[in-house]
């Protein structure tokens, strides 16, 4: 990974010097050994702070949202999952391809700095030694799907077995059992909206949950409002979730949010087929559920 770091720094330096970019998005070292955070380098002097290590798990494509209204030319380092985020933003016309210079990093699988921080901080139960993060063990696309330059050797997907096994288990439940399962699971939500904030597919300028007139979802933390929040949020992700797993990783109360996302990925796949969200960029292409056709065979319900 040291090699990748120096390669990234080399490329960023070159791009800054050639005047091809104004900023470079990547990661920098955090407070502790196990902490790495997203970073925006603004000049060649900042390049030395750029790092790629076993904790560079944060999906940096999310940081593009902070720059969507500007005109800067942006260099960005992306792993497989991050690159799918970039595709999503391109499809949603949140950023234009000509503003981006993308460095792809085939990802070997990373560790979760938050899990490490929990163990280190001594809150709650000690967690056992950190292997690869859950989201990395479930990864189907470690290699970047869009890039101008690639750094490092290709990797093989780490997802083993049936990716939808848990979804199928829940589908097998009776309606009452399933309701109970989600009621219990979502009752613990503290509505901090970290799952939304960290999500690159959540790129709406005004979020439905922030609207007051009308207020679509109540602010009480109870079963009704919590369910409404999660079901609506995740339904919005249908055909859009790039499976980066960040929502589930950052959740402070451990809600298995990827279960909801995978259910939708499975359904959208079965109903519409086609390529999964963000796996391939074709200019002008729209994901399922983003297009309206007058001759749609189904009624608008």
């Amino acid at each position: 990974m040291k090699e990748i770091t120096s390669k990234l720094q080399e490329i960023a330096t070159r791009l800054f010097n050639e005047g091809k970019i104004d900023v470079f998005l990547a990661w920098e070292k955090g407070e502790q050994e196990f902490q790495t955070k997203s970073y925006i380098a603004h000049s060649v002097d900042d390049v030395k702070n750029i790092i790629f290590n076993e904790y560079s798990i944060y999906n940096v494509s999310n940081a593009l949202l902070k720059l969507r209204d500007g005109h800067e030319k942006i260099g960005i380092a992306v792993k497989g999952c991050d690159s799918r985020g970039v595709v999503r933003l391109l499809e949603d016309l949140q950023i234009t391809r000509d503003r981006l210079y993308i460095i792809g990093i085939p990802c070997p699988g990373l560790k979760d700095p938050l899990a490490a921080a929990r163990s280190f901080g001594g809150l709650g139960k000690k967690e056992s030694d950190q292997g690869l993060a859950k989201k990395c063990l479930e990864c189907i696309q470690p290699n970047p799907v869009i890039y101008d330059e690639l750094v490092g050797p290709e990797q093989t997907p780490r997802q083993q077995g049936d990716r939808f096994a848990q979804v199928r288990e829940i589908e097998q439940m009776s309606a009452d059992e399933r309701y109970k399962f989600w009621e219990d699971t979502l009752s613990t939500c503290i509505r901090c909206y970290a799952c939304r904030q960290v999500c690159v597919a959540c790129d709406c300028r005004t979020c439905i949950f922030d609207e007051m007139k009308p207020q679509w979802v109540g602010r009480e933390t109870n079963t009704t409002d919590n369910m409404m929040y999660h079901l609506v949020k995740h339904a919005h992700m249908a055909g859009r979730c790039i499976e980066c797993g960040e929502c589930e990783r950052v959740c402070p109360v451990g809600i298995p949010l990827m279960l909801l996302n995978r259910k939708l990925i499975k359904d959208v796949g079965e109903l519409f087929g086609g390529t999964e969200a963000g796996l391939q960029y074709t200019e002008g292409a729209k994901p399922a559920l983003s297009v309206f056709k007058e001759n749609d065979p189904d009624n608008f319900q």
Partner: protein
């Protein structure tokens, strides 16, 4: 000294729960926080020996969602049917000094300076705090720098001291006497060895920070510090002293109720004005507000910082925002006079 043998802990919690709702630090599956003892089921764990739990006990006196009053509308008239000042007796069992300080800070806000919040007052008056003295600070702890005495926390009605086989039971106040009476037959007189206090790992110097921040509202350091923040509200919701709330109403036709729910300065909606403008529209501005409130404004008004040094926000933050480094950065910053 009075001690409570650990073998009698569950009996004591059962006894106390007969007449009080007792909040105990517990691990419940993936979650850890203060939960009512009566909700304990097999598989749960009492976390008195852990450093702390994720969710602070502030919910015992300021629940995340709290019904305030019930309303009925008739034409132009509005009638308040019922108010919900809740004064059922509660005990926070085993709170660390940092978390007790969080509640003391809320006492200042809700009970002093000319206005008493009747909802908070009802809960707080009926609330007893049994603190758990802290002898071994964790890797993120810095309460010593934020005016907290971890071994002798101010505001505790009873202080527990973990002496291995038993907790020393040290009564501090009348409220403490009252809960002690409930479990008197479970306590023993015994001399036990108290643990030695271990040093703090974090070195934090808060002195002069509040004063210096007065001149730093427009300092460029906020751009840099806030760069990675994504404005979720996790830090504010796990914080033992963040008390901001929003009051809203739910109506069905002509009936409904008003409630308040925790809110977060990290949210855009929090500072949005009725006309649509927002004085803190940008991410940096909301970020700055949080830290100025913790480190400057509260100190100016109440003479003590609003951060209690529990370290939770540094653990949960998905983008590694670190309040200790912010204090350092403020200390080191150059300010043009």
């Amino acid at each position: 000294m009075k001690v409570l043998s650990k073998t009698k802990l569950e009996a004591a919690l059962n006894k106390l729960s007969e007449s009080n709702e007792v909040f105990v630090p517990m691990q419940k599956k993936a979650q850890s926080g203060y939960y009512p003892w009566t909700s304990f089921v097999s598989g749960d764990e009492i976390m008195l020996e852990a450093l702390n739990v994720y969710q602070s006990p502030k919910g015992a006196v300021l629940p995340q969602t709290e019904k305030m009053y019930q309303i009925k509308q008739g034409g132009m008239e509005i009638k308040i049917d019922k108010t919900f000042e809740d004064d059922h007796p509660t005990i926070i069992f085993g709170a660390r000094g940092c978390d007790v300080k969080g509640i003391l800070a809320m006492d200042e806000v809700f009970l002093t300076r000319g206005y008493e919040d009747s909802f908070y007052k009802a809960r707080r008056s009926a609330n007893t705090i049994i603190a758990n003295a802290c002898y071994e600070p964790g890797s993120n702890c810095f309460c010593n720098a934020m005016e907290v005495n971890a071994v002798d926390p101010a505001g505790a009605d009873v202080i527990l001291r973990d002496a291995g086989e038993a907790f020393v039971w040290e009564v501090k106040t009348e409220k403490g006497e009252a809960v002690t009476a409930i479990i008197a037959d479970l306590l023993e007189e015994k001399e036990v060895q108290l643990p030695q206090s271990k040093p703090f790992n974090q070195k934090v110097d808060y002195s002069g920070v509040a004063e210096k921040l007065k001149t730093m509202f427009d300092h460029p350091l906020w751009d840099k510090l806030s760069a990675s923040c994504i404005n979720c509200g996790m830090c504010t919701f796990v914080c033992p002293s963040c008390y901001c709330f929003d009051i809203q109403v739910k109506m069905w036709g002509e009936e409904g109720y008003r409630f308040r729910a925790w809110d977060s300065c990290m949210f855009e909606e929090y500072s949005r004005e009725a006309g649509g403008g927002n004085p803190r529209g940008a991410s940096k501005e909301r970020f700055r507000q949080r830290f100025l409130h913790k480190l400057e404004f509260f100190t100016e008004r109440y003479g003590t910082p609003l951060c209690t040094g529990c370290g939770r926000c540094m653990i949960v933050c998905p983008t590694d925002v670190n309040i200790v480094r912010i204090i350092d950065a403020v200390k080191e910053a150059e300010v043009n006079a």
